[in-house]
Symmetry: C2
DNA sequence: CTGTTAGCGCGTTCAT
DNA sequence: ATGAACGCGCTAACAG
């Protein structure tokens, strides 16, 4: 079933049907009603490829999840992120396409990227980039491809959504200090992650504000897995793994 | 950059370039080489929409995850599934599109389904259906839409991939029985899940084969969450939650 | 092995 | 408010 057929069934031209579908208000109520009936009765749905080709927009949004392939199964963050994005896409009547950097081959990511971006597969992309100097982010920026970061852009050149990692860490540490504690340990994420950098900065800032200097021996590195956290805590407790 | 431009830059016709792109072997090595050079140098990538419109195939595969929205974050099964499918799609040079039944509105799923399937968004779909009489599965079957189930089809009418739930459960219980144990408890999944049905069947079969009749009091129902498992175990242990 | 010719199904000016 | 005509970029016969 095509626009053409709907049009002839409704006794109008293709253009009119197209207008009805796209919510153009330059259609008389009577005609609109008639067209919508035909559409409903025949369960017509516009062909996605044809729409994209003509309109130059795909109505597909991408969610780009890079590198830490392992952690996608261990870290509950990703399922949540995926679900949230999926929900928003559904609400906006967009299709979500998931771009995951699986392969260990570093060029595979680049190829995937080029194919999808240059092939005009997507209207825009949400990229969950947590690492400093992510090459894909740089690429997107260079290509001026519509996108938004989940995790802040250190250079503040792109749109992003993030939490106040620094402030939160600072607040938590300040709270402990205020209660008289002095030996405050920290299990942080990998050092190349922006969130880890920010949290550490907050940790340090809270100490400094209290006129203290944090003890490097109280820092341990986890990797957002249970096991990583366990090991880091063992280290802090003086039981190196 | 379009096929047309690549063609004129390489001094051939559009068709030849198209053949090179699609790996048609009816192209002389010399010409192929020349075309590929132009493609590489100009970083050309074919327009996805145009290809789809002309070929009637989108090179997009769908992963359809229905109902149990909550469990997608608690159950590590889904991240693994998603990652596996993504990997396979990458390897096959296909794009993965994620179709999740978020909304509580039951008609939303149907609309999503119709839009995507009838709009020819996808070439095929992997559906992770675990529930008996899943309406979406029925719909797919009726529409004769290319798809494969993750989880078996009770009616054996569709392609599927699954594990031997029944046999595994039977084996496990038989093993315990062989070691002399007689009061064997079972924490199963929700009763409308095929996997739960199969596992229970195996549990019962093992008992029957040993001339025993399982005690209904030893059955408890979990929901694939830690908390659900905890509660079920409490019940089995005689400490109702 | 290569080029020519038709569409694929729709959005979008233009007229009217 | 509606329709006619064109083009989006590519694949797929069909010729040669």
């Amino acid at each position: 079933m095509t626009l053409e057929e709907v049009a002839s069934l409704a006794g109008v031209s293709r253009s009119t049907v197209s207008r009805v579908i796209n919510g153009d208000h330059r259609v008389s109520p009577a005609v609109r009603e008639r067209v919508q009936d035909v559409i409903r009765v025949h369960n017509y749905h516009p062909n996605a490829a044809a729409r994209s080709l003509a309109s130059r927009r795909t109505r597909i949004l991408g969610l780009l999840i890079p590198q830490p392939v392992g952690s996608i199964v261990s870290d509950p963050f990703f399922p949540r992120l995926i679900q949230g994005v999926a929900e928003a896409c559904n609400a906006a009547d967009r299709t979500l396409s998931l771009l995951m950097d699986t392969s260990a081959d570093p060029t595979a990511a680049a190829r995937l990227y080029r194919r999808v971006v240059r092939g005009r597969h997507l209207d825009g992309v949400v990229i969950s980039s947590s690492v400093v100097d992510d090459p894909t982010v740089a690429q997107l920026k260079e290509d001026r491809f519509p996108c938004v970061l989940v995790g802040r852009d250190p250079r503040q050149e792109m749109s992003f959504v993030d939490v106040y990692d620094r402030e939160a860490a600072q607040g938590a540490v300040a709270h402990l200090l205020a209660h008289g504690y002095r030996r405050i340990g920290m299990i942080n994420g990998p050092a190349n992650m922006i969130a880890a950098i920010d949290r550490h900065a907050g940790y340090v800032a809270a100490h400094q504000k209290a006129g203290l200097r944090p003890d490097p021996a109280l820092m341990a590195e986890g990797d957002f897995t249970r096991r990583g956290g366990y090991r880091a805590m063992q280290t802090l407790l003086g039981h190196p793994p």
